[in-house]
Symmetry: C2
């Protein structure tokens, strides 16, 4: 890869006939609360496109332009008056804005950022991201590809033999493309451009995405399927025991519902805090069962903010900090409520132990990350992750055992902090 900036063209000029019933022009159709256009832009940026992004508009182009301006999208809008002659003319219309190398990304193909990263690792004057193991795409409707090794031999909607499909993502070379396609006023689909390229004796290199979860959105049915595909992008490898085996199964359903509303991740973080505070007030008044249930609900909802952020491709450091500080306030409230529910002095000491331990497990981790860049895997929590602590609080509350619960959480979490310190001492 050269070190020059990499541009991108997003052809977004077509009719999108089968989605017209939705009302918005196709680039502005929302999936999981985010328009196809914004998704494509964020995916390109997260995937490594650092230069200019051109959006080529045609059908209902005014609406798309206005939207881009109102959202202050960091793109250049180019209008293609000839869009009805095919999406090849839209790519050509953006060419003058492009640096030497650029990506072409169809606005109706939803890709995880990893697809773009994979594409950018391939070399060639014309690289097409293809998929030999498509999991979600409608193979019937797709553009098919015949491969031999990483060379494309044939490409088209109706080729007789194929062993991969086209994923709507390409890496192109400006001057070669300009040389190949003379100015003309015939119909020109992007597939035609690819066939012209092959016919001229040039090579199209196939970059195999090997089943990465992407999908082509053409119909309302595709829209429903797309949200599941996007949800599958969210990693959950670092979840604690309770989260992995219980909370996530529910939070993902809630996220699927919330994703299509305007709810923001920060709003969900606040909602989770408020539920915890409500739970703590109930527990303090010895309404142990409803209080414990609210605490567990808060813990479940706490998974949704990160999920929504990932679904909308808008994970941010700020959001992560905000969420983690609110989580600490929620923990403090629940533990305080539980300590207040039992008026014995020993409960108060247990409560203080639980409070300091619950805050010091994440504190020690944050300090280690701040000083060392990342936490060595041997120092990760072995048991007292937040999902586990909150589940213990919820169960302890329902069982009406405030003191025992606080004492176990206090001892176990402080021991976990001590274990980190000892490992740190051993490592130095």
């Amino acid at each position: 890869m050269s070190k020059h900036a990499l541009g991108a063209i997003i052809p977004a000029a077509g009719l999108g006939e089968r989605l017209q019933c939705v009302g918005s022009p196709k680039p502005l159709v929302k999936i999981g609360g985010l328009t196809l256009l914004e998704r494509t832009i964020r995916t390109l940026r997260l995937g490594g496109v650092d230069g200019k992004i051109v959006v080529v508009v045609g059908h209902r182009g005014d609406e798309v332009s206005k939207f881009a301006a109102s959202r202050k999208l960091d793109v250049v809008i180019v209008t293609n008056p000839d869009y009805q002659r095919g999406n090849g003319t839209s790519v050509m219309a953006g060419l003058d804005h492009m640096p030497e190398r650029f990506v072409v990304a169809m606005v109706d193909h939803l890709h995880p950022p990893q697809s773009v990263k994979t594409l950018l690792e391939c070399e060639g004057d014309f690289v097409a991201a293809v998929d030999t193991k498509p999991s979600f795409a409608d193979v019937e409707e797709a553009t098919k590809v015949r491969l031999e090794g990483d060379k494309i031999l044939d490409i088209g909607k109706k080729i007789p033999e194929f062993n991969a499909i086209d994923t709507g993502l390409f890496l192109c070379h400006r001057d070669s493309l300009r040389e190949l396609v003379p100015a003309q006023d015939e119909a020109l689909s992007w597939n035609t451009v690819k066939r012209m390229w092959l016919a001229s004796g040039r090579q199209i290199i196939a970059c195999d995405l090997q089943g990465l979860p992407w999908i082509d959105v053409d119909t309302p049915e595709d829209m429903a399927k797309a949200i599941d595909v996007i949800m599958s992008w969210a990693p959950s490898g670092k979840d604690g025991f309770v989260s992995r085996n219980f909370n996530r199964h529910i939070s993902r359903r809630i996220t699927r519902l919330l994703a299509n509303t305007p709810t923001t991740p920060n709003q969900i973080s606040i909602m989770s805090l408020l539920l915890a505070v409500a739970g703590s007030l109930l527990i303090a008044r010895r309404a142990y069962v409803p209080g414990g249930l609210l605490v567990q609900l808060s813990s479940i909802i706490d998974g949704c903010d990160g999920e929504i952020a990932r679904v909308r491709l808008q994970q941010s450091n700020q959001g992560a900090i905000f969420d983690s500080v609110l989580d600490r306030w929620a923990d403090s409230a629940v533990i305080t409520g539980m300590a207040l529910s039992s008026e014995s002095r020993s409960s108060l000491v247990a409560g203080s132990l639980a409070l300091s331990g619950s805050l010091l497990v994440p504190y020690s981790r944050a300090r280690i990350e701040a000083e060392l860049g990342q936490i060595p895997s041997s120092m990760l929590s072995i048991g007292m992750t937040r999902d586990v602590r909150l589940a213990l609080l919820a169960i302890g509350s329902i069982l009406r055992k405030p003191r025992e619960t606080l004492l176990s959480i206090g001892l176990l979490s402080n021991l976990e902090v001590l274990r980190r310190l000892l490992q740190l001492a051993r490592a130095s």
Copy 2:
């Protein structure tokens, strides 16, 4: 600067006559709990010397070699049987181990790492770090230098005119030095080598340290002065109000005493925690005055661990993490003690607020540092730094106002956390 590894020679072979009364051979004389030899090595490493360091021994060389081996110092020991012919022979004895460019650092000159960094920014085949504004060195005893611009015209102990002094730190070129000094068996001091260099028509470039706090240690009086010089290296710019105006004045005196003992920074961190726990037990039993005093003492002692680490040139990420986690335990103990001292329910809520706030001020900072690399200066604590919180706890205890104290600390520190979150939201 070339990208090749930079070596260093530490001539450590001399008699050190005026320090013989101390008992140890001069390189093993301790200042602030660390031998001159270890100081010189750490200063070179912290200053940017990344290649081989050779220690040339002579007088009582066996003891120095054994010490280096027992401490597993990362150096090569070279014995100079001719050390009595002068320290120039010691530099020449280390030459075969050196890469093209290397530093010469006298073992009895204590420099802050910044001196080495400054030296390495200068270019030339022979660069001498000089000082036009010496603050601590004994000018009478020093090697004098006559400068014109950055060129050295004359150098020696007894030159008629001078405008700077030699600081015992040099950047040299191996082959030029080998060419200049033939193998011979005459007396050869390092000053003679410098004069031969000038006499041959070559240039010595002066690199002016401009009053950086370095000192030459030759006598027991110098040793006493040296500890003050070293203490002046410790930055204290980030201290809170109470620390800057009160704690530091006392902690520096304590550090000065502790520095010469084998006490480690981590032991001091633990001592500070134990004092806080003792204070909290007293406060919980309503022994408010002695309890409050112990809390303030703990806060003062908490300054000493970092000071000792800086005096010994051994600041580490691990030490910083260890100290900060122990500080949080100390805070938790004091607040819990105070909440228990007054049995009203409102004190307990205030205590919980104070505890969460006291842990969340540093937690939010650590999270911001972990996510953003560093904390924007606008988000630094504006009032509720740890020294201030502990001083409020100590005073509140002495005044027998546990509830009011906890409530103010709880409100102010949680407000500070909220302010950080709002600033973060505004920045994104």
